[in-house]
């Protein structure tokens, strides 16, 4: 018989930390990663030797980048593994750290994501393609933007409002790469990238690090961790793309099936969610995914956006961190940073971007391939 995460022993996030996401710089990845880990250890008020296992999420650093970073914390001999799962690398590392603790193999585990913006290299499958070399991610999503706009009678202005909201949230986040509010005119008037997408509707290229420490109740007691600040992971689901009917957007279909499973695992309905951190690398994705998660019927996302229902303080705050558009998307760190943001919000420690009364948060990432990971955290 198989079991889901929440049928194993409870697992809690007890420490969160970042190195700010930023434009590419000369700072070595080791420094980015160590900053995030030390800040997560300090947040948990534990020392490095308490960490029994490490999951290092990175997509662009190449082979075996973890140990040259972790050794500077004091080489304890604890196991470490590297996780590469495209944009979902960090979410995947978090899932496996949770599983290790929930299973009872460890009491305390680290998930850390770190990346520098090195060139992406993908191996040849041996199958030819017509023009895939000309269809980079922003064009994949420009095509989806065109389809969404036509199908749901949405304008370029409607869709760009996602970026206005997320830049507004990012402006209040000291760990965000972009910390500047933008008007709709600024968003629409920026550099055109592909289709109706402009630069401020696309995630920036950047680097950074994020870390979270997870622990069991035994670990929390033994280490004297403040249980009042611990946030439980109540669902973890990972899925990969199936064959959908021709013309179906696989990103949205995959998100729907993954989110449905996660909500069922936590015994929640979409209306129970106070916070969602989701993969808004491009504006149209936020509309697709809130509809896939079930916040509203298909095509109604723009109405919720315009009503302020997706704002901090609204019905469900979407991407209070600023999301991938404003906080940034350094790849390996991103999914872990989402967990950190939700933990901060559920603790009530999010300062000027606090969503009042937040008790339940959902983190969603898709990764090219395609894979999808959804986690739910509850106070």
């Amino acid at each position: 018989m198989t079991r889901s995460l929440n049928e194993l022993r409870p697992v809690y996030v007890v420490g969160i930390g970042w190195h700010r996401y930023q434009n590419p710089s000369e700072t070595p990845y080791v420094e980015l990663g160590l900053t995030a880990i030390r800040s997560a250890l300090a947040d948990a008020r534990i020392e490095w030797p308490a960490v029994e296992s490490s999951y290092v999420a990175t997509a662009l650093l190449g082979m075996a980048s973890g140990r040259p970073m972790l050794r500077h914390l004091g080489a304890t001999g604890a196991p470490l593994m590297h996780v590469e799962n495209a944009s979902a690398s960090g979410s995947t590392a978090f899932r496996h750290a949770c599983i290790e603790v929930a299973s009872g193999i460890s009491d305390v585990a680290l998930a850390v994501g770190v990346d520098k913006r090195n060139p992406v290299r993908r191996s040849d499958t041996g199958i030819g393609h017509l023009a895939e070399d000309a269809i980079v991610p922003f064009t994949h999503f420009a095509l989806l933007t065109n389809e969404y706009a036509v199908r749901h009678n949405a304008t370029a202005e409607d869709i760009a409002l996602v970026a206005v909201k997320n830049h507004r949230n990012g402006a209040k986040n000291p760990n965000a790469q972009r910390q500047q509010e933008r008007t709709l005119d600024e968003v629409l008037g920026g550099k055109r990238v592909s289709g109706s997408l402009t630069a401020l509707q696309c995630t920036p290229i950047g680097e950074g690090a994020a870390a979270v420490i997870v622990a069991s109740e035994d670990g929390i007691r033994r280490l004297g961790i403040d249980a009042g600040r611990a946030i439980r992971t109540t669902a973890s689901v990972g899925r990969s793309e199936r064959v959908y009917p021709p013309g179906t957007g696989f990103d949205a279909a995959l998100t729907k099936e993954t989110a449905d499973l996660a909500l069922a695992q936590a015994k929640l309905a979409p209306k129970d969610l106070d916070i969602i951190e989701l993969h808004d690398a491009f504006t149209v994705e936020e509309l697709h995914y809130i509809e896939s998660i079930g916040l509203c019927p298909e095509g109604h996302g723009v109405r919720m956006l315009k009503d302020g229902a997706l704002d901090i303080g609204g019905q469900c705050a979407i991407n209070p961190s600023g999301g991938l558009i404003a906080m940034g998307h350094p790849i390996g760190p991103t999914g872990i940073g989402q967990i950190g943001e939700i933990v901060m919000q559920l603790r009530g420690e999010a300062g000027p971007r606090q969503h009042g009364g937040a008790r339940t948060g959902l983190a969603h990432m898709v990764g090219v391939g395609a894979v999808c990971y959804v986690h739910i955290l509850q106070k």
């Binding site: 023009a131 980079v136 095509l143 592909s194 289709g195």
Partner: protein
């Protein structure tokens, strides 16, 4: 007249001529489970996992309906200078493909009928005209 050379002969071949020039057929595949895919491959069926003799070549018509278009304004690859337009097409024979809109095509919008043709895209070293698949509004 110099003969033509196809840029990607693994993916398509020249059909009979019509008024507008050479028509093109796509080299898709069909699994014994009924799944039709593009391009042909023999690794295995994405729907059911069958491989080997279960997968056979299946010619696909290059006629279809436009699902989406996007004109690319920025592209890092110097070999393919922007702007160019990418189209997403639901082929009448089933698969959805994404490729380039012909440079001389009128603007397209979702829902329109489109068709793929072979268009000259350059010269080979031996002087042949190199042809590649491009879509435009169906005439």
């Amino acid at each position: 007249m110099q003969p033509n050379k196809l840029l990607k002969p693994d993916l398509y071949f020249e059909g009979s001529n019509d008024r507008e020039g050479a028509t093109v057929r796509l080299k898709g595949g069909r699994c014994r489970c009924g799944y039709v895919f593009f391009p042909m491959q023999s690794y295995g069926c994405e729907r059911c996992g069958s491989h080997g003799n279960a997968l056979t070549l299946c010619e696909l018509s290059a006629n279809g309906t436009l699902l989406a278009e996007a004109t690319v304004h920025l592209h890092a690859d110097k070999n393919r200078p922007a702007p160019f337009t990418i189209v997403k097409v639901a082929l009448d024979d089933g698969p959805v493909i994404r490729t380039l809109l012909a440079d001389d095509s009128a603007p397209v919008a979702p829902g329109q009928r489109v068709t793929g043709r072979l268009a000259p895209v350059g010269q080979s070293e031996s002087g042949e005209t190199v042809l590649d698949l491009r879509f435009s509004i169906a005439s």
